[in-house]
Symmetry: D2
Subunit: 343 residues, 4 copies
């Protein structure tokens, strides 16, 4: 149940509603919202009786919520969320392209890649300073040194930057240098990390776990919103199945459904989704065609010498081709209507 | 190993090569081919020594084949196969649309649907006369009566027809009335059926099994080609995974890889692939964008009253929208280059 | 809905009930049963109103069935089915062991293996005369020659024999020489084959499909029972998952649940289930411990030279060890209570 | 590559070897071992040339390691690791039983359950103070209050205690009160947590991730050992597959293979593995029969009123039955040989 307060309702009225919710045995959770106040009822197992609440002063309406997630739900927030990072909008009028190497590399190389992907159409730069790796003996990223390189990408190339936070204890340090904090697939249900990034209130890119259901993914996003952080971007990056012909199985079925269920932007990562360089472009096209708000891709000026994920990293020319593809795909009815209108 | 004979090589030269292959302990399989003769060596476990064969009269070259499948492989047949049914080409210059109800229904309704999907852009009509169903108590199709209705679709509406053969014993009867014989997902490894349809030499549409690897799928096609039937169309229709948000998980990763590995046309069936009517169009777009040669879809003039699969059957208007989408998608570089040239 | 007739009810009474069912718009299916007659109502989508039927002459009771399968259900047939082949009982007082090579080999070798597995404790001999193989170029079995060898195993060694039927057209020929007709995993939903083996009324061993749900498996068995064949043995043989450490993932979770849901015997095939010779014994133990009525295993006197599946074929000594294990496992409470009592 | 030093080799000799490894461009990692010193070479991508190292003073032998994991491998450590917590041994002569409620509940209830499972044969008590839950609105555990209750279980009931650490920042606090630190399935690749628990050098129970391969699981354990913590217990708890008949699919195929590949003890958790109370006992039996060193189970004196996981929590009587089963299963050849010898 979500209680929507009237515009102009007073703090006292809100407090009274919260008190009444507690009296009913539930926990009130004041929701985010600029122009209106919403109070989410949590802790209920079944439906909540709304008669008492409905007649209280300042209450506009009581919306029953049938899904286990609430704040991420379209039921509660019908309009698309647009996450803004400076002048870049994710979830808005046009597709967003996030591009860059898997890991931060040397300053010179990283700046070169950033310059080139920017010229080719990228809106946001990606590169990992902290890399989660299956083996303790693998390259674990450049760490703090990498963050300083990312800072230079922001300052000198002018691209906003997304980078992964692998543990709650690193969140604040990463947030000093990076615009969007990424939660990787392996950490989608690292609840301590989710809570920490919810509190930090910086834009978060939440990758889908390797075998997460849609509901689990939305619930992970709910952790972030429940802490008061509305700026969450979802990213489908392939799931694990019996298929042995690609690293993961990109699940594009989930894209239109996620867009129905939630107001949050949904990106697709074809690099991890298919895991082979020569198939990234067809799957990038497919991701946009299925309705994604944009793409996140591993791109490098010299893919063969990339520090990590070389096999799935495309070159800048291929990335430029995908940007060109997107302008054709934007003509599809309803895909980016405002983009079409704006042109 | 594949032995390619020179153009103009004589029957005697071919016979001598086959005899030599037998002497080496393998089985020769003369391959299909209009302008040149190819002889496939089967029965070998490891590499075959080609020195003796190479110097025989009439032999052009000896091609080692590194995959377990041979005749379906691009190594052996580098050019795309185009399957022609009258004036309709599958795998050719433009995307192919196969549309119609899940099952053959009454004559009047079936003809009405055929007329309407034809007007909306369908090239081939689909409808099942024999329906494989999980439950023995479910509707099993109209059988022979359905075949006669399909004959009327061909004769009166002028659309070629594809329909499923559920058992080898039905193959000849279905082939009397139907242009393309479909092997359903559950029968992808029904080897008796594969051999029968290989012998019949009628175009075959081979759906991918619900948990078949790419290699198993291509091997099933190899059964058809090994019997001398070159007219095989592949169709991806979703695989079974842990996902519970859709009936199957449409595997678009497989599309560009299948197109690399085999010369056979590859279609996508978004109806079974996602299993929900309101998500068919985005996945249809995605299938084409990933490189499919066309789409197979469940379409009905009154989807809610369809005899079967109503939940995933789209209306004719949605189908017409997808045809329109395809003309936009055809502008993507390399997707349907000849189509673009022809316009 | 299942209508149970009183003992001693007349044919006329049964006919009247069937006629009434038809009048209600459903299809009556007279069920199997020696001492009492049961009439299954099929064709209903929702619950059936039983008031009219309940009061008819000869009717004992009307049992609503909540599952999509009926005849295989414990609701309809509470007692365990015991499938008897001569003096061998499957599903009865003691575990059953089915052992033998993957394929029928030379007569001498096949008889040798049969003699040795019999001495080691096998109750039934297994070997394939017709082999379904992924590749058209693989060994497809000895066919009819193999059936004659199996006949000699029956006649000279005195073991009943199970062998796979790969197509409906082969069923009668196989049934001439073989006691139990096996439906392989790839054919679990080959409905023409299921109907044919239902009609033949010979014991059938139905393997679970490689990605079949429990419900689909039971529905496949329902096809056999609906044709009037009550002698069906189920066999779990591993399912396909993301796991790459074994050929399949043996699903022992399904064993106790299948035993709750159906009265049919449930075997486990650890050879295909794990796919590696050195792990067959621990999984054989686990299968029995989980409640299977017996085991089906690939056993050979010279496993390394087996015509097929050598990697998962155990030697006779290992098989003998498993038989010994079973007598220890039979002490587990409730596992084989009557077996314990009988000793 | 692993360099084994002679018994009696000096610190100077070890230092010289480490220095030489660094000169070769790799990183030396001195390994655990009471009677001998082993130095692991990490950072190599391909094989390491051992000629130089082999002839150095104090070197006994150089063992090439073919797996990506080293310290957890049988190649490097052939003997079984026995993890000792006071008088309890995991991985030793007899099966270990870990039992208790999903979550810590009230002190009175928790102590009651502990007393009863101890009487029924439990060696270690389990209960979560910090609960990772998919929904932010679910019960998240009693936290610090729960730890104090667990301390009372240790002090008053005399059972060692295992409890989950959900984040690296909680590790030290949990370690104050708890004997074995559990890493849950969702955190199997939370590398910050793995490193922290590696450093703490307290016994760790590492659950397999919901879709982790065996290799990924062993690599996660390698993180712990690489930090110098040798006391790691593995626990299979079911994986995610297409199966919808149980919460997870218990993968018993992995048990004998894990025991071949690693020297670490391997437990099975049938509670999560099957997810239904009435199937826990058959799967518990199966887990032991497949070769597990013990079982971890959710057990409660009043299962229906358990704070969480009630549907998969068994009562104390069922648990006592499983302990009885284990003494029968211990008679199986090679399962618990020393246990048998000791009786």
């Amino acid at each position: 149940m979500l209680i929507i307060m009237q515009q102009g309702s007073t703090d006292e009225q809100c407090d009274a509603v919260e008190e009444q919710i507690r009296r009913m045995g539930y926990a009130p959770l004041p929701g985010p919202g600029e122009n209106r106040t919403a109070i989410c009822i949590t802790g209920n197992k079944g439906p909540v009786e709304s008669a008492l609440l409905n007649q209280m002063a300042g209450v506009l309406e009581c919306i029953p919520v049938t899904k286990p997630y609430k704040l991420v739900s379209r039921e509660v927030h019908p309009d698309d969320t647009v996450v803004r990072i400076g002048s870049v909008a994710v979830g808005g009028e046009a597709p967003t392209f996030i591009a860059g190497p898997c890991s931060v590399e040397t300053e010179a190389r990283t700046l070169e890649v950033a310059r080139r992907v920017r010229a080719a159409g990228a809106h946001i730069f990606r590169a990992g300073a902290y890399k989660p790796h299956t083996s303790p003996y693998s390259f674990q990223g450049l760490g703090e040194e990498g963050l300083h390189t990312l800072q230079r990408v922001k300052d000198e190339i002018g691209l906003p930057v997304v980078s992964e936070v692998t543990d709650a204890s690193l969140a604040e340090k990463v947030a000093e240098h990076v615009d969007i904090l990424q939660i990787g697939a392996r950490n989608m249900q690292n609840f301590a990390l989710l809570k920490k990034l919810g509190e930090l209130k910086r834009p978060v890119l939440l990758k889908r776990g390797i075998s997460a259901t849609l509901e689990e993914w939305l619930m992970a996003a709910e952790y972030l919103l429940a802490e008061g952080n509305p700026d969450v971007i979802l990213c489908e990056r392939g799931v694990r199945t019996f298929n042995n012909h690609s690293r993961n199985t990109l699940d594009l079925n989930v894209v239109p459904l996620a867009r129905q269920r939630t107001h949050l932007p949904v990106l697709v990562d074809p690099s991890h989704g298919v895991g082979k360089r020569d198939r990234v472009r067809p799957l990038a096209r497919a991701g946009l065609a299925a309705g994604a708000h944009g793409l996140m891709m591993e791109v490098h000026s010299h893919p063969d010498t990339a520090y990590s994920d070389a096999h799935q990293t495309i070159d800048v020319e291929t990335f430029a081709g995908i940007v060109k593809d997107a302008s054709i795909l934007s003509q599809l009815e309803g895909l980016f209507p405002r983009a079409v209108a704006a042109e």
